[in-house]
Symmetry: D2
Subunit: 361 residues, 4 copies
């Protein structure tokens, strides 16, 4: 046999089955297999690296993850500061609120008779059901809460913090919104108008003229300022959608105002969309480099998988492997409770981009 | 041979190739084949039915359709009133504005060297390129325009109409925004904060404190009021995303305030996402019935295809088959140019849901 | 504006809708858009180039294309020699035979009640139905035919030619098998055992001991010899599966015995599978280069689309644009009717690979 | 709140993260979440049920699972008799043989320079590499082995058993082929001609005229007879392709000859293809009922996931949960080593379907 090609360096190690393997042991054995299994194992490694580096970690979530049973994983990631800032669709926050308020989603069937469901006023999300009546009580609850706030514009970040606080004070239950409130982790929801939280806000306006004003352009300014203040960032994306783009946009916007910003240093995404139809949800992390959304030397991996399989395995593994890293981690400290938030003591305006002459953190 | 089963009614007719077939002839021959080909042919039929019925037709667009060369098809659909109201992602409107302002997207390669592109400041969308410098001139252009508007909240609908007018007045070029301006067709952009239009608005605020205020909750109220005023609706969705959900949400929200609303009477979607991961983009039209987003007896079809293949064929066919229907069509008449829009002479508030005691149109 | 980047050469030309556009006009307008629309337009160009070059064109077909209404398109491609050799799954040939024998597939629903269908003995292929009883008559018909052949091994190529002849002689109807018989185009079916044709052959053996003997290893030898004899090749693949790999394998195998073989010069595939799970059906044409399946300077394009949309449009366009090319085309001449086939007068053994000392054509 | 709908029975239980969770604990927690996570947990349950019932369990495997690092999982499933009969593509057996012979696949990159790989004669499978030179040594090894066998037809089942024996005798290494040899588990490879094993067989014929005859129609007869002899069956499918259909076809074929056969009692598939393009790989298990491939009351689940993620987790969980079931399991006993195999002492002809008057096992 002639000398090996430079391309043949690291052999595939077939996965060996054993009883009693833990999540982290499984992912370690998956590092040397192929395809999406390897990618998921790489995601595990990259997240560990993020936690060891001095970066602000953004988590984006889209898709019906809360209704689908992953909300307490996300709450766990927030409470234990695997992540520093959440960007979410409104639906995920709404379905989280639904359960935090003591209501449930239900195991259903993807082969349902939708006319029969409609008659019973049951809303279906693929194989999962919920009661429309209960949803309406949420809408009212949100509307009542929002209609009693001072009538002025709120960034989605400020509003969601107040909502999380109210939820925690009235329920004391775990969930995404309450975890973010308790951990002082900001949540942005750029497409809040496209969700039942938005519907609740519109009903608040019905109750109280002038209520329900969300300043989503302020969210753009604020999220960019977060990065101007602390230019080293990482991105973890579940499912694409508006959160994926918003996290990238914050970096691109920040770069206009600060030379210290150079794209995310780490990026991992767990998506089911594909790149070849041109949509942002499925776009590759390589493409993101062309935009400067990612540093060209970033550590990155894209996992093509349903988050309901990938995330339970990944989060369970990190619960073991990341514990010492979380303890040692230098994480940004936020004050999220008022109109102007702060990061590490610096104000983060939603009114204007920070002057880059001020020292970045 | 025994008697035929009741399931065996309509034989598949194999497609017969012929030189010189036009788009509509091709789609007619596809009506009796199978799979997504049949679905696309059915979409052609359903759109014709919509145009013959007295319904308000919503068009949702997500994915990089404007950058990808479909913006003049959408402009054509608007100008000729195949549709009555557009709900779009911000990116599609931004890329439309980019070309209407005389700049271009470029044929590129999906196997690009993204580091080299980044060095040249070329942004890649799968196999399509654009100049970041040119994008920055757009951002500035939008910022300048928005910073000169009276500083008050604007629904995305009002702002986009003003933007389309300004674009038309300065360029006189065809495009989505200019077509909607000229045809008095409202555009909603619920996730405008997640786009470069949002970035331009945030920069407007940098120039003029208090500028760049978009009232996306007002968009919820307004879009629901459109349906309360005119309860019979149809939905055409390209690519899922926030537009798909926003169109459905408007119907659900309207139903809270008016018994005349009963879900879309017609629905067609051209999507590449799949239902089985639970996301809204790929969700089936059957599932939409359970929510009341669709009437249970609605005519509907879902086409699993890239819009860059399906839409040129479908729109070319309709240009022939829909011409007489468009001429005869009873379409809603909008006045979109001011803070409060009207439909068929009735005001459509963005401040509160219409009282259902007023007669619906 | 500074000087343009080398990456920005060819602007995207938005598709302009017009009434009365023919298939070829539509595809020409799609050449300068993006994503899969552009790829389909490129496929149109590449097929035209194949027809102008002196190459043997292989067509691979997998997926339920015959049942789904595309069998007369494939017959048209064979009869008019857009292609020179077909590699197919057994199911496509079986469903073709089903209709050529005068039976039908039926328009059905993807939301069928499968238990009710089972009760009526209706077999479902997504949204298409067929009668199991009729299928059984086919099996018997194939078994009867095969049981009367001389009991010796047949390559799938020889057997399918005899089957096509018998079908033509008894029905005089158009179809894939009869077109291939009439046009002297060889058909290979490497996975014939995994189909109802295989089931019919197994039942022939029940009738006549020793019948139903298919020499699929002979097919490997024969297909490689075709390429050794005529080393310049092109590959058109619909749907991946065993045909895609078999066409590539023939080239790789031929290369072992002849230095003139260097991978396909042209390759186009219309597939719905994706590369990132590692399967051969979705594998990229770039990957195929690493194996030598494709010449590294080959013209190639992969279209991610359902063939039931892409093929009617593509074949209709070619019916116009390829007509003069087909008339001028230098195509290989086969004699397929006996145990040893010939190409351009040279024998093509199924027993041993051709000696490369003999001059290639 | 009014009384609950009958549709709202079992609440979703959000997954709770904990350090040290084992694979089986993770899957138990995934039983009450949604989407593909729930489906994978259901697959775990169904496989356990199969093992407790008196059924013959078929395993189908397609896609590059062996090259991708899953071959020792499949070997484990065979050796421990989680399954009773393997149906595989040729490539999976070939890549297994490659490693069992002491050679390796290598960790590579999906963004490779394929021209550079081609120059080094490295074959790429998405993100995995192998040496073409080493592949050629395999081909020769297979050719040498096959050319020394008695020149007569062999079912793929008989040939693969002999190949596995030869491999075990010369290497004593674990792998799929050697595990099946040692465990007396039959392997069918209906598309063997579409693989490098087929290429090796074709080269055997070059060495020894008359060698390399595989009787794949005999495989049809034999596989159906297996089911006629033991009519209760289950199907586990990884990746679709010819194995999926062949397993179903065996059941349908057996049903022609025995009324005791009624479709698989259990079915689980882990696939990445989707139903809506009509292909067999992605076809739903509901559709399979219409054909009688599945009993209408079968327990079944389809998991949309890459096997490189799903199978390590599933097999690791079963290593714990299935251990007692495997110990108690009543499994069929095969003698596979000669031309005519036996199951539980009964002969299984490859020449003619069993007479149903003989008592089934």
């Amino acid at each position: 046999m002639t000398k090996k090609s430079r391309f043949l360096q690291t052999p595939i190690e077939p996965f060996v089955v054993e009883a009693g393997l833990t999540a982290d042991q499984i992912l370690v054995r998956m590092e040397r297999i192929s395809f999406q299994g390897r990618n998921l194992a790489t995601a595990h490694r990259i997240w560990q690296k993020m936690l060891q580096d001095d970066v602000t970690i953004f988590l984006g979530m889209a898709g019906a993850l809360s209704a689908g049973g992953l909300r307490l994983i996300v709450a766990h990631l927030i409470l234990n500061r695997y992540v520093d800032c959440l960007v979410s669709t409104g639906a995920n926050l709404y379905h989280d609120l639904h359960e935090t308020r003591g209501q449930r989603h239900y195991v259903g069937s993807a082969q349902a008779d939708d006319a029969a469901l409609a008659e019973d006023r049951i809303d279906r999300v693929y194989d999962t059901y919920a009661s429309e009546e209960e949803f309406i009580t949420n809408d009212n609850w949100i509307a009542s809460f929002a209609s009693m706030l001072e009538t002025r514009p709120y960034t989605s970040r400020e509003f969601l913090h107040l909502l999380g606080r109210h939820l925690w004070e009235t329920t004391s239950r775990d969930g995404i919104l309450t975890a973010a409130y308790r951990a002082n982790v900001p949540i942005f929801c750029p497409a809040i108008a496209d969700s039942s939280i938005g519907m609740g806000l519109s009903q608040a306006r019905q109750k109280t003229p002038g209520a329900g004003y969300i300043d989503i352009i302020g969210d753009i300014v604020e999220s960019a300022n977060l990065i101007i203040r602390r230019p080293r960032t990482a991105s973890v994306v579940l499912g694409g959608g508006t959160p994926k783009n918003f996290i990238n946009q914050a970096s691109v916007q920040a770069e206009f105002y600060s030379d210290d910003v150079g794209g995310h240093r780490y990026a991992l995404q767990i998506v089911t969309d594909v790149p070849h139809f041109g949509g942002a949800s499925g776009s590759s992390l390589e493409e993101a480099q062309s935009w400067g959304k990612l540093a060209t030397d970033s550590a990155r991996v894209s996992v093509q998988a349903d988050a309901t399989i990938a995330l339970p395995l990944l989060a369970s593994a990190l619960a073991t492997t990341a514990a010492p890293l979380l303890a040692a981690r230098q994480r940004p400290v936020f004050a999220v409770g008022s109109r102007v938030m702060t990061i590490d003591g610096h104000t983060v305006s939603s009114e204007r981009f920070e002057d880059t002459d001020e020292p970045a953190v």
